[in-house]
């Protein structure tokens, strides 16, 4: 039986652990610490928790100041607000100054559900990826989110950590190693590579299982670090399979798919499809319903995989 847990819970647990192990870790929130699960840290370490009220720009600037003074600040809000309202602060105060600020966005992607389009971050990976020195991490499950949070504290420089609101299947094990910047191979296969991040890694695994029933051997790569990309793993996947599908809970413009295409187009071009949101906003609904309506389901990945396999065969 698969267990389910939101990635934001994994972050909350990781932050709580950092409270114990890293006295320099502090947390800030734009009055969304309950939603982002930073509230667990707040209860345990009230002196090291700061609410700036509903003022995300000031929160990022305050976090930058704390980093100048030697702290490791985790600044939390919804993924949309902590990256959208603050792009200029993240650019000049955080990235340009190469400060050790960790930007934590919960409620990333469509699986926010009922709150609807304004709360569903679908473009922020593109925004964050374009910022020099910014590292971009999208954990695939709560266990990985916890490991990523802890790894962030030991990883100098700005990091954006994207989390989800809804329970997601636990597909990794506590003992699995985690390293920022290193993609993990979840399933071996040489016919087609399914490359995902976040919630879509689970869907890619499910798609691979469906493809296996038709004797198609799909490789599944968990690219939890969207920047810097694990170029070697991507090039190996393209070289050894000759067909690539990316999958992300994000617009297909400038996110994981774009990032992978930038690498492969310049190193080992192969037929490629991008599963993601098609240049549009989200809407209200049940998360599962929305993932279906916006074509982010395992069967959408299966369809894309068959497309690239056809292209690959035509090219032979």
């Amino acid at each position: 039986m698969t267990e389910y847990k939101p990635t934001r819970d994994g972050f909350g647990e990781g932050l709580l652990e950092l409270g114990k192990t890293h006295p320099n870790v502090v947390a800030l929130s734009g009055d969304l610490e309950d939603s982002a699960r930073a509230v667990w840290f707040k209860k345990q370490y009230p002196d090291r928790f700061f609410s700036v009220g509903i003022a995300e720009q000031d929160m990022i600037g305050t976090a930058a100041g704390m980093a100048i003074a030697g702290k490791i600040p985790f600044a939390c809000s919804f993924a949309q607000f902590v990256t959208g309202k603050t792009l200029e602060q993240l650019r000049m105060a955080v990235c340009y100054q190469r400060l050790n600020v960790k930007v934590v966005g919960s409620h990333g992607g469509l699986s926010v559900g009922a709150d609807g389009a304004t709360a569903e971050a679908l473009e922020e990976l593109a925004h964050m990826r374009a910022l020099p020195y910014m590292t971009v991490i999208v954990p695939c499950d709560a266990l990985e989110a916890k490991k990523a949070t802890i790894a962030c504290a030991e990883y100098p420089g700005p990091v954006f950590l994207r989390l989800g609101r809804s329970p997601a299947p636990l597909i990794t094990k506590p003992s699995d190693p985690y390293r920022i910047g290193e993609a993990t191979l979840l399933r071996q296969g040489d016919d087609v590579a399914l490359i995902g991040c976040g919630l879509m890694v689970a869907h890619a695994l499910e798609a691979a299982a469906q493809l296996a029933k038709e004797d198609i051997r799909a490789r599944v790569l968990n690219v939890h670090t969207v920047k810097p990309l694990d170029r070697a793993a991507l090039i190996a996947a393209a070289t050894e399979t000759g067909a690539v599908v990316t999958a992300e809970e994000h617009t297909v413009l400038g996110g994981l798919g774009g990032a992978v295409a930038e690498v492969l187009a310049q190193t080992h071009p192969v037929p490629m499809r991008m599963v993601g949101v098609q240049d549009q906003f989200g809407t209200s609904g049940d998360p599962a319903e929305l993932l279906k309506a916006f074509h982010l389901m395992p069967e959408d990945i299966v369809k894309a995989a068959k497309d690239v396999l056809r292209l690959k065969q035509n090219a032979l």
Partner: protein, 282 residues
């Protein structure tokens, strides 16, 4: 020049001379660069003298001294004044001033954190410095570190909403280490602040946000240092010094003329300006 161990006493005649020299240096730098912001650089000269030659605990020989007071220039376009002051204090060689804005230089048109010793933060995208000051003060409080953090902003700059978010944060957390200085030089790029987007009454605004507010003539060095002295005595509250200044101060044809927000003087204009400034000393 100023070290943490030597007492700092105001020296009126020397400081008047210093103000003229700094203004001349600023104008030479901008003229040589062929671009830059003379108006807002000239308006903040006395405010910087009062800090670097009097109020600020700092040591140019130890720019990374952890106990130093911090000066954060938030109105980044005024950096020619900061560079001139830092060079005069010995943070880096004066000859480098004439590389302003020209590749490859450490003196960009808007400051880059740490590009030269003494430049504490990046600025240029307005409205951000006060948030950084608060973050430093909050971290210092956790660490039991006692130092003052000064943040200089322009009056046009404080139209930025983030400034008021930060102003609430400083007051909410009673950050007595934070001192905001408003260089209220009356103009912004396209005209008088009052006409473009009025931010008056300035002192009342800061007071109502919970700040101990001191209003002064920002070109009167005696008032400037009295304000810094008074600010240091305040506990449990951040302090705002509303400094009434004149954009382009010291050069008749630049004073209160919006055309001199962001253009460099041509050679004949530079000569006229330098002579005018020199004449004030005799």
């Amino acid at each position: 020049m100023t070290t943490p161990d030597t007492p700092r006493t105001p020296d009126a005649p020397a400081w008047r001379r210093l103000a003229v020299e700094l203004r001349q240096t600023i104008l030479r730098m901008i003229a040589k660069a062929g671009s830059g912001h003379p108006g807002g650089s000239l308006s903040m000269v006395e405010l910087l003298i009062g800090l670097y030659w009097y109020a600020l605990r700092h040591d140019p020989k130890r720019p990374d001294w952890p106990e130093r007071d911090l000066f954060l220039l938030s109105k980044g376009h005024g950096c020619p004044a900061l560079y001139a002051v830092l060079a005069a204090q010995g943070y880096f060689p004066k000859e480098e001033l004439m590389t302003l804005r020209r590749y490859p230089t450490r003196l960009q048109g808007h400051p880059e954190r740490g590009s030269v010793p003494g430049v504490e933060i990046a600025a240029g995208s307005l409205g951000q410095g006060l948030s950084l000051a608060n973050g430093i003060a909050l971290a210092d409080r956790l660490d039991g570190r006692r130092r003052r953090i000064y943040c200089l902003m322009g009056d046009g700059e404080i139209q930025e909403g983030q400034v008021w978010e930060a102003a609430m944060t400083s007051a909410h957390h009673r950050l007595e280490a934070v001192c905001a200085i408003i260089d209220a030089n009356q103009l912004q790029q396209n005209g008088p602040v009052r006409e473009i987007q009025n931010i008056e009454p300035l002192a009342e605004k800061w007071r109502s946000f919970g700040w101990h507010t001191i209003e002064i003539d920002g070109h009167d060095l005696a008032q400037v240092i009295r304000a810094y002295d008074e600010a240091k005595t305040i506990t449990g509250q951040p302090q705002a010094i509303v400094a009434r200044t004149v954009k382009g101060k010291g050069v008749s044809f630049m004073e209160l003329n919006p055309a001199w927000h962001g253009v460099a003087p041509k050679p004949d204009e530079l000569e006229k300006a330098l002579n005018e400034l020199q004449a004030t000393l005799s």
